[in-house]
């Protein structure tokens, strides 16, 4: 059973649909007690970083901290991945989990690069890093992005994407995983990554 955390940041249907397609049952919850009992957790999300304030308001952030410390596999998607950093300049008053160092920032103003970054772009593996999430995913694979803010390339980043500079595409530390793109919308590559996450040993 995969727990999908609902903090009213967009659309959970497509994540659940992808999990069902892969043969995994999922449940949607905003209840911290359900999160505490979950063997595997996905935090999706699109839109504004300020929506992650609701994770704290619901009491779910403490529950996530506890289960992550116990080794429960956790995957943040898009804004859910950004929340794994210390915070975001999009909503400076809202703190993230801080698993990865640094602040998420807006893409620079640059006439050659429209913001938001929308479409299919490529993953580049960070040399010398290991990734369970990217098992059997070739370097250069395409994934689907739609976002205006991006995480810096810091320790824990295992793949980057280039758009007005390199940014964090995939972060991974022990049982904590995050992807800036949408694996549920990234065709076979994305489905393979979701399967990898679902098969990671706790």
């Amino acid at each position: 059973m995969i727990t999908v955390v609902d903090y009213r940041a967009g659309n959970l249907a497509s994540v659940q649909k992808a999990l069902r397609h892969l043969g995994y049952e999922s449940q949607v919850t905003d209840n911290p007690e359900v999160v505490r009992r979950s063997p595997r957790i996905i935090l999706p999300g699109v839109g504004h970083f300020s929506s992650t304030q609701r994770i704290a308001d619901l009491g779910v952030n403490d529950a996530i901290r506890e289960v992550v410390a116990r080794g429960v596999p956790f995957l943040g998607i898009c804004v859910g991945m950004q929340w794994l950093y210390e915070g975001s300049t999009e909503a400076p008053d809202v703190t993230g989990l801080g698993t990865f160092a640094g602040m998420v920032e807006r893409f620079p103003d640059d006439p050659a690069h429209k913001v938001p970054h929308v479409g299919w772009n490529q993953l580049t593996r960070v040399p010398g890093t290991e990734s369970r999430l990217l098992r059997d995913i070739p370097d250069g694979s395409f994934v689907y992005y739609t976002h205006s803010y991006r995480g810096p390339v810091v320790p824990g980043v295992v793949a980057t994407t280039n758009y007005a500079g390199d940014f964090a595409a995939v972060v991974e530390r022990d049982n904590v995983f995050g992807v800036q793109f949408h694996p549920e919308k990234s065709g076979e590559t994305g489905l393979k990554m979701l399967r990898n996450f679902c098969e990671v040993n706790a």
Partner: protein
């Protein structure tokens, strides 16, 4: 590198695909779900389903068709036609759409763009602009100012010019613009590259070009000269190009970044 997108479009009426590809080996060639899946498998970067008579029939879009289609594909899926309210949009997202496209309802009540964007994010709002050049288009300082916005499936002029409307929808929170040239739609004479280019340089959000594709070169042109971020393909597959993958291979040979292999 960020690639240019080829978006496969299915025009649907009464739950059946009326324009788009009719693959001979599909048992039910008019089934949107089967066709969407085929397009995604053959390399479409996105699929859009347009219920082309929902607005004119004044009925809601067919949720069941959206739900069945969404179940089949794992690339971005946009749905449009007959979205009139936040509740209509919410029902489509719940059925599995990733984005909704709106046109008539946004012209009637532009605050709808902001409402949907605030609830579901700008990335989920594609503003469809049906544009037609005015008779005296060349009297204007830009082609976008010299083109008029139409609604109700191209049946009604609004008096708004494309330049101002494109700026306004971006300000109100639209995440992308799907720009259809009514002058070119159905002609197979190529996209309206000057108009596409004018709008693409006017706004900072992606512009999807639509209307007029007749061959692969037309796509090369709309990416190189029209500065489009994405282009819509529907009936082109009837006319010599076998599928999306073949089209993308041709574009890549012309130096346009494409998601390949896919």
């Amino acid at each position: 590198m960020l690639t240019k997108r080829i978006i496969a479009c299915l025009d649907v009426t009464n739950g059946r695909v009326v324009k788009g590809v009719q693959f001979v080996d599909l048992v039910d060639a008019g089934d949107p779900a089967a066709l969407a899946r085929r397009h995604a498998e053959s390399g479409a970067d996105e699929v859009v389903l347009l219920d082309i008579t929902a607005t004119s029939d004044a009925r809601p879009i067919l949720i069941d068709v959206v739900r069945r289609t969404a179940r089949e594909i794992f690339v971005p899926f946009a749905v449009g036609g007959g979205v009139r309210s936040l509740a209509d949009a919410a029902a489509l997202f719940d059925a599995g759409a990733d984005k909704i496209t709106i046109n008539s309802a946004a012209v009637k009540d532009p605050s709808l763009i902001t409402q949907i964007a605030e609830r579901f994010g700008s990335q989920a709002v594609v503003l469809a602009i049906d544009a037609k050049r005015k008779i005296d288009a060349d009297q204007y300082d830009s082609i976008a100012r010299g083109s008029e916005v139409y609604v109700a499936g191209g049946r009604r002029a609004t008096g708004r010019n494309v330049h101002d409307w494109a700026r306004e929808v971006e300000d109100r929170g639209a995440g992308e613009i799907m720009l259809t040239s009514m002058d070119r739609d159905g002609t197979r004479a190529g996209f309206d590259c000057p108009l596409t280019s004018a709008v693409a340089q006017l706004v900072n959000i992606p512009v999807i070009a639509s209307g007029g594709a007749g061959n692969g070169q037309h796509f090369v042109d709309v990416f190189k000269e029209g500065h489009a971020d994405a282009a819509l393909a529907a009936s082109i597959f009837h006319f010599g190009i076998h599928d999306v993958r073949e089209l993308k291979a041709q574009l890549q040979r012309e130096g346009i970044p494409m998601r390949l292999p896919c």
